[in-house]
Symmetry: C2
Subunit: 125 residues, 2 copies
């Protein structure tokens, strides 16, 4: 069974209060201020546990480090190629496309992921 440790609580609390899609490293830096001797392994272990239990989502695109967010309704992302930040995009999620692809391919389509790339406002100047 899952225990409620102060480490796990602090990680969840931070994720619940940010929209920044932080990396494990950023989470580590933030939580370290509250629990100075926390280890990075604990960050990763908890993020994986929370992902398994459906409370956290891992955004991982190869070529970049993984980013994490509190599990929420399906949505799309924008990644700035300059600064690396990730933003939510409120474009409506098209569910019908999964069925269409399933029909045309014969594959079982469970989900799709759409991500935009470019330059955020700050990085355009």
């Amino acid at each position: 069974m899952h225990r409620e440790t102060k480490q796990r609580t602090a990680i969840l609390k931070y994720l619940n209060n940010t929209k920044s899609h932080p990396t494990a490293d950023i989470i580590y830096d933030v939580v370290k201020k509250i629990i100075p001797n926390i280890s990075k392994g604990t960050i990763y272990r908890n993020l994986n546990v929370l992902k398994e239990s459906g409370q956290v989502t891992r955004l991982n695109i190869k070529g970049t480090v993984s980013r994490y967010e509190i599990k929420q309704a399906s949505h799309y992302h924008f990644r700035c190629e300059q600064c690396g930040r990730v933003f939510d995009i409120d474009e409506p999620v098209d569910k019908s496309i999964d069925e269409r692809v399933a029909k045309s391919t014969g594959f079982k389509v469970i989900r799709h992921q759409l991500e935009f790339r470019g330059l955020c406002k700050d990085c355009q100047r």
Copy 2:
């Protein structure tokens, strides 16, 4: 200037004749049969050179390792969560969505990437 080496030629030749979106490791295994003492560094170096020159695309597909393909018209992918294989999807590419997101966010949208996940035919049984 770029030179034509047998290593580079063999890598390109293999990529030109497969639709499998191979990883660097797979390319290494295949090309090793033709050039037994080729090194993995040469595979990676050439894949990067070919990417820079626009002949090869590196797929930033969710998962752990990078996959490569010959540069071609923009298209979407499906990744089987069981066997890990990547397939092309011939769903038409929606270009208007980039502009729509650009307008609503103020970001400069350069491209988008859509990827489906699920089970391929083989893995459904």
